[in-house]
């Protein structure tokens, strides 16, 4: 498959009053054409920062220390502001977490959509209007002409997120970055928005980077999953591999903490402790302090990626040949078995 984006050895830090926060500490990943890559991790793991680098909208105190982001042979981190403006929206588009605040409250829906059409495609106002109405229809909103004239506050949250998606799609981008696009919506609307994104992906042939902390959402949309922790990717692989054969203790923890509807007896699992303070990044494996399987070497040296299959890699010393053989906890194993069965049944 053709790679559309290659992120290589990305390091990003933020200058703050307290010192330099190393938010991204060496991230590598590829995005293939037409796939959905989910980046999963808890708040502060660096997933949003990664995508902001891709869009070139990193906050002013953010610095790219090292690494490159290759798109069409160009390194996006080295582009001038002007060059980046031409790519943003047109080649790479983004949708955000909270539809209630992502639209400008003082402008009509129609204006906000046609604005980028006029900007990137040199359309005149009339054509832009028709195209915008088409887009509103495309994202599944009825009475598009009426909506075109309305203001954001006159629309529900779900509809607003559809409008944000319409804005993102306005210029036929090749890549869509969705930064927790369903987190702020209630569950039924979540499902509709996910469905819409999947549908549009097939229709338009988008490559999607899907940022989320919700593994339930990931299961629905992702072809591949990358798990991020403390500014690094700790495990990545095909969706099924990460879900059914997780290797990193952090991924185990994440999977175990997904609420299980059938299991009402046990308390909901949570990973104890908090992520490390990235003002002072740990010397060894960042997860070791919270991991019950931590080895001595975890405190000394950061684990490299160990290959599990051609597509599946995990960065944990547990996979080293000299490490003690540790399997995932029994309770999780049981849940995964059930998940597999559930997926099969669902398939039928």
């Amino acid at each position: 498959m053709e790679k559309i984006i290659e992120v290589k050895n990305l390091h990003v830090s933020f200058k703050t009053h307290n010192g330099t926060v190393k938010a991204i500490r060496g991230v590598d990943f590829d995005l293939y054409k037409g796939e959905t890559l989910a980046i999963v991790g808890e708040s502060g793991s660096g997933k949003s920062v990664t995508t902001k680098v891709l869009m070139g909208i990193l906050a002013k105190n953010g610095i790219i220390d090292e690494g490159e982001v290759l798109y069409n042979g160009k390194d996006l981190t080295k582009l001038s502001k002007k060059e980046m403006v031409a790519i943003r929206g047109k080649e790479i588009a983004m949708i955000f977490q909270d539809p209630m605040t992502s639209l400008n409250p003082t402008m009509t829906i129609g204006y906000q959509i046609s604005e980028s059409l006029i900007e990137h495609q040199d359309l005149d106002k009339k054509t832009a209007r028709l195209k915008a109405i088409e887009l509103i229809e495309l994202v599944g909103i009825i009475e598009p002409e009426k909506r075109y004239r309305q203001y954001p506050h006159q629309l529900s949250g779900g509809m607003r997120q559809r409008i944000v998606i319409a804005i993102a799609l306005a210029c036929n981008p090749k890549i869509l970055i969705a930064d927790e696009p369903t987190t702020a919506l209630d569950v039924t609307i979540q499902a509709q928005i996910l469905e819409l994104i999947k549908e549009l992906q097939i229709k338009i042939g988008l490559s999607i980077i899907f940022i989320t902390h919700d593994l339930g959402v990931v299961a629905n949309v992702a072809d591949r999953i990358a798990v991020m922790y403390a500014g690094k990717i700790v495990e990545y692989g095909d969706s099924a591999e990460v879900f059914y054969e997780p290797k990193h203790p952090y991924t185990w923890g994440l999977l175990a903490s997904v609420p299980d509807m059938d299991d009402q007896d046990n308390e909901l699992y949570s990973i104890h402790g908090a992520p490390p303070n990235l003002l002072y990044p740990p010397k060894g494996d960042a997860f070791s302090a919270r991991s019950e399987y931590a080895l001595n070497i975890d405190l000394e040296e950061q684990p490299p990626f160990f290959k599990i299959s051609d597509t599946h890699y995990a960065a944990t010393w547990l996979l080293h040949e000299d490490a003690p053989k540790i399997e995932m906890p029994q309770s999780l194993l049981k849940r995964i078995e059930e998940m597999k069965k559930g997926a099969l049944n669902h398939g039928k």
């Binding site: 909208i57 943003r88 929206g89 983004m94 400008n104 980028s116 203001y151 006159q154 306005a170």
Partner: protein
């Protein structure tokens, strides 16, 4: 919308009536009379009271006064310009004060918005610090200090040096040129207030999600700021500008004294000190009227800037 405006107008009329009654009552309770001249004996005073109808019972006088106001008659001046109709006194003075106030408002808001934008876009830079310092100075130093400074350096010194660009005092025949210095002096406070309020708001707006989305759309920084930010940041500024405008339009006593401007700020203070009741009531009346009109106007402006508070069918 029409119904809303109609309702507001009705409320305004009632408010004006209440204000008028209060003014009338308060002045009634004020010690002293317009005819406190030592040279007048009791009998002469009695005659004067009789002449101006001041010996009638208060409710009767109030009725006569209000009906006259409806006809545009604000009575005559008792002391300042004996027997001159108050309406005529205001006719010449009010436009000067209003014009000066509006000039200061427009100039001050424009400069304020520009300063605020620079400060917010280059947050924490030296421009930002300079704006903050300027704003603190503008708010804390009274306008007459600026007025005296401007009058001395740009008026007096420059004229002495052979460049009579800015007249030191107001000149009825050169209304524009001679109003520059007082306008600038008056606008310092406006600039400072607008700059402070707007900077805070603009910083907030620039950090908002919809600005991130506008950037993600691929708009240039210029378009993001001019199209998406400034208008949204203006909303709270409008709130402070309302009362400020009334204050400016009704004239500033000190500024008018320093530059010798024949406005109503000067007139009001004189009228109070010599118990020229009709003049006091008339000016206070217009002051209140401006306030009410301004409040109504600001509500309309809000609607123009922010569709969320537009009073129409609205959301569903």
């Amino acid at each position: 919308m029409l119904r809303y405006i109609g309702k507001r107008l009705l409320i305004s009329i009632v408010t004006m009536f209440v204000i008028l009654s209060l003014l009338f009552l308060l002045l009634e309770f004020m010690p002293g009379s317009p005819f406190n001249d030592e040279k007048l004996n009791e009998q002469q005073k009695e005659l004067l009271y009789e002449k101006y109808g001041l010996n009638k019972p208060i409710h009767e006088r109030f009725f006569i006064y209000t009906t006259n106001i409806l006809k545009g008659d604000f009575g005559v001046s008792y002391t300042i310009e004996k027997n001159a109709p108050v309406s005529r006194m205001l006719e010449t003075r009010m436009p000067i004060s209003i014009r000066l106030g509006l000039q200061a408002l427009v100039f001050g808001s424009l400069i304020g918005v520009v300063l605020a934008s620079i400060a917010a876009v280059y947050k924490n830079s030296k421009w930002d610090t300079m704006t903050t310092i300027f704003a603190v100075i503008g708010i804390s130093i009274p306008s007459y200090v600026f007025a005296l400074g401007l009058s001395y350096f740009l008026g007096y010194k420059l004229t002495l040096a052979g460049y009579p660009i800015f007249p030191m005092t107001y000149n009825l025949y050169r209304p524009i040129q001679s109003s520059i210095l007082p306008t600038v002096a008056l606008s310092m406070f406006v600039i400072a207030t607008v700059a402070r309020f707007m900077r805070t708001e603009l910083v907030e707006v620039l950090g908002s999600d919809y600005i991130m989305l506008a950037e993600a759309k691929g708009l240039t920084a210029k378009k993001v700021i001019f199209r998406h930010s400034i208008r949204n940041a203006l909303i709270p500024v409008v709130t402070v500008l309302g009362p400020l405008t009334v204050g400016l339009m009704t004239g500033s006593l000190v500024i008018e004294r320093i530059f010798g401007i024949p406005g109503i700020g000067d007139l009001l203070v004189t009228a109070i000190s010599v118990n020229d009741f009709n003049v006091v009531i008339a000016i206070s009346f217009f002051y209140s009227l401006f306030y009410i009109i301004m409040a109504l106007f600001i509500d309309v402006i809000y609607g123009v800037i922010d569709p969320r508070i537009r009073v129409d069918k609205g959301g569903e």
